[in-house]
């Protein structure tokens, strides 16, 4: 078990390095291959009308005139040990982990990420609880009475949930519950300051996001339950004289939850890397919104930082899913 964790951790680190290298290549190698000069490349990091001194500073700090692998090495070294940016008149020390420095906004990337992460986590966690509970419940009820009115209702809602884009449901929720009838707050308040206000503001965003995801979970649970409830071991559980409720929950749902863990872990991992559209619609200053803003500003270092952070969450979530899966299904051996 422990050796498995160690091996998987090493594999995860290597995977992250590969992701970083590929992302780095896209940012620093492709433009050169496409014929951009070093000056043109450096210019992109600064914005309109750069002075030659600015360009020189970018080239110096990113090592743009050096081979790409050396640039990559500097970047990785920055993450582990920190880096110092020499901007001519001033120097900026970027503490480890240094995920880069925006020459446009003159801020370090990492503090931006950490300050926005709680928003994204709040959004993802709240929505995840909602969609998991509602999706699995709807799926179980649907599976127990296939073809019933409730089944059709749930599956209808699920279908619309997965088909309606966030631009629609999110805006509608905002319009109705935040502006028309101001039940919910407009500005994000950190959980540590005021938990009830925090939940109050995020609630419409949670619901909109959960609607999108719970559809998949409802369908997954429904089909899983339909299959499981016709298994022989369900008949055995009934033959023992168990109450039907226990048969469904302890024997039926138990089997269905294992594949759901897998999907849930991946979804959550993806979402932690930034719920781009939801954060934009609800004006939440999270990772996703940071990514959108940086892309709009053509500000490359933050984009690189967000990409790596998102990759980290996905890899980490997969790692956790593997461990949980082994805990959930005794037939899976971690070796």
């Amino acid at each position: 078990m422990i050796s498995y964790i160690i091996r998987r951790t090493i594999a995860a680190v290597i995977l992250l390095l590969v992701v970083a290298a590929v992302t780095f290549g896209i940012f620093f190698l492709l433009p050169r291959l496409a014929g951009q000069t070093v000056d043109q490349l450096a210019q992109q990091y600064i914005g309109k009308n750069p002075s030659p001194a600015d360009i020189a500073a970018v080239k110096r700090n990113l090592g743009l005139d050096q081979p790409v692998y050396i640039q990559f090495w500097h970047f990785i070294k920055g993450i582990v040990a920190g880096a110092t940016y020499d901007l001519g008149p001033t120097t900026v020390h970027c503490d480890a982990p240094c995920f880069g420095y925006s020459f446009k906004t003159h801020v370090e990337v990492w503090p931006q990420l950490t300050s926005r992460l709680p928003v994204t986590i709040s959004l993802a966690a709240g929505a995840a609880v909602l969609w998991l509970v509602s999706g699995v419940t709807a799926g179980v009820i649907s599976a127990l009475k296939p073809g019933s009115i409730l089944d059709r209702l749930f599956m209808g809602v699920a279908l619309s949930g997965v088909s309606l884009p966030m631009f629609f449901t999110g805006q509608l929720a905002l319009l109705l519950f935040t502006f028309q009838w101001p039940i919910f707050g407009r500005t994000y308040v950190p959980f540590t300051e005021n938990p009830s206000q925090w939940a109050n503001t995020l609630f419409p965003a949670w619901c909109s996001l959960a609607l999108l995801y719970s559809a998949i979970y409802a369908r997954l649970t429904r089909s899983g339950m339909l299959e499981t409830m016709s298994e022989d071991y369900i008949r055995t559980a009934r033959a023992k004289g168990l109450r039907e409720r226990n048969v469904v929950v302890k024997h039926g749902l138990r089997s269905v939850l294992t594949p759901i863990i897998t999907v849930f872990g991946m979804d959550l991992g993806l979402l932690l890397g930034g719920a781009v559209i939801t954060e934009t619609v609800f004006s939440l200053h999270g990772i996703g919104e940071y990514a959108v803003k940086s892309i709009q500003d053509n500000d490359l270092p933050p984009i690189l930082g967000v990409t790596l952070l998102a990759a980290f969450f996905v890899v980490f979530a997969n790692f956790l899913v593997d461990l949980l899966y082994a805990a959930a299904d005794p037939r899976v051996r971690l070796s």
């Binding site: 009934r238 033959a239 023992k240």
Partner: protein, 364 residues
């Protein structure tokens, strides 16, 4: 007693075997029908039999003859699950003086596992893959006994030991997939017997096992039956199993009983052409290896459109022996053909004796 008067109403059905008039398990005119899109599936269509404690009844027949549905109906399991929603059921099932068909489902649930228990065909798929053997036995015990988990575990270890699982205190924490097929079936038996049920139904308990293990499992069931004095119903299509373990045999065809009697009667003096066919298709060690097995020709009947008259007539080589086309128009009732021996066939006793002694017996 009410059940006595009901027995009188069932014309042509075998009378209860016990002297006081009520058998421990008494099934009367049981019908279990499943409506489907293609029509009404008459899985069991008028089945009656009795079984006393300490005795073993074997129900034999082809796939789709209604033997498994009969066992599920006794347990009340046919009603549960997606298929059981529209099930139509009539008749009576008396277990130790309690009628189960008309009983409240929760009443039947409380009997399930405690007074009647079941062993299934494939112990790997019949046990939950995510729970340990011990967990599943403890659960079966605690449904019906208000005891601590610790006490139930002691009981589970005891049962595992009883069914011959070595080092039960260690093996109790194993998962089903960590057991061999034979060990799994032993654990399954331990789980079924943990509440000392008076009726044990085994649905093809040895079909999924290899032959050496089969014999061990049958021995185990027989020993435990002696020890607990329970009534045992064994569902099987393997006549070898029947000869090994049963006291009485009930041959099912198309949802109905076609022959019923003691093992000796049915094996030595079978009275129904279908039973002859079953015996003829059984491999025997004393036969010449070049002899071909004789299958029962044709397909098992559709339970939606059961053939008119005798359900077996399309496959019966002697369907034209009785006069006036009676095999195609009149459904034969069970008739007593000997002490405790019944058969549902239109052949006259003389024809039956002649065909058996001249054509069938020499080939077996």
């Amino acid at each position: 007693m009410t059940e006595l008067s009901k027995t009188g109403a069932a014309v042509g059905e075998p009378a209860p075997a016990s002297p006081d008039g009520t058998a421990f398990l008494d099934v009367r005119d049981l019908r279990v029908h499943f409506p489907t899109d293609d029509g009404l599936v008459k899985s069991v269509d008028g089945l009656s039999f009795q079984l006393e404690k300490g005795k073993t009844l074997s129900i034999v027949g082809e796939s789709g003859s209604g033997k498994s549905v009969t066992s599920l109906a006794i347990m009340g399991l046919h009603r549960l699950g997606a298929r059981g929603k529209n099930v139509q059921m009539s008749g009576e099932i008396w277990l130790d003086g309690k009628e189960l068909v008309s009983a409240d489902p929760d009443e039947v649930r409380r009997l399930r596992g405690r007074e009647m228990a079941m062993i299934f065909q494939d112990p790997l798929s019949a046990m939950h893959p995510y729970y340990t053997i011990g967990n599943q036995i403890v659960e079966a015990y605690r449904v019906h006994h208000d005891v601590s988990k610790k006490a139930a575990r002691v009981r589970a270890v005891e049962m595992l030991d009883r069914v011959g699982i070595p080092e039960p205190h260690k093996r109790i924490d194993a998962y089903p997939h960590e057991f061999s097929g034979g060990m799994r079936q032993r654990a399954m038996i331990a789980m079924a017997l943990v509440n000392n049920p008076e009726l044990l139904i085994a649905d093809e308990p040895t079909t999924a096992l290899d032959v050496t293990v089969q014999a061990q499992i049958l021995d185990l069931i027989r020993d435990l039956q002696k020890e607990f004095g329970s009534a045992v119903v064994i569902i099987t299509h393997d006549l070898g199993v029947v000869a090994e373990i049963a006291d009485d045999v009930l041959v099912m065809y198309g949802g109905r009983c076609v022959e019923r009697g003691t093992v000796d009667d049915v094996f030595e003096r079978p009275q129904h052409p279908y039973t002859w066919g079953l015996l003829g298709s059984m491999p025997r060690i004393d036969r010449d290896t070049t002899d071909r097995l004789v299958p029962v020709k044709g397909q098992p009947p559709s339970l939606i459109n059961v053939p008119s008259g005798c359900a077996f007539h399309p496959r019966c080589p002697y369907a034209d022996v009785p006069k006036d086309n009676v095999t195609r128009t009149v459904r034969p009732e069970l008739q007593q053909v000997g002490t405790g021996h019944w058969s549902a066939c239109h052949l006259s006793p003389e024809d039956r004796t002649r065909i058996w002694t001249e054509e069938i017996a020499p080939k077996l």
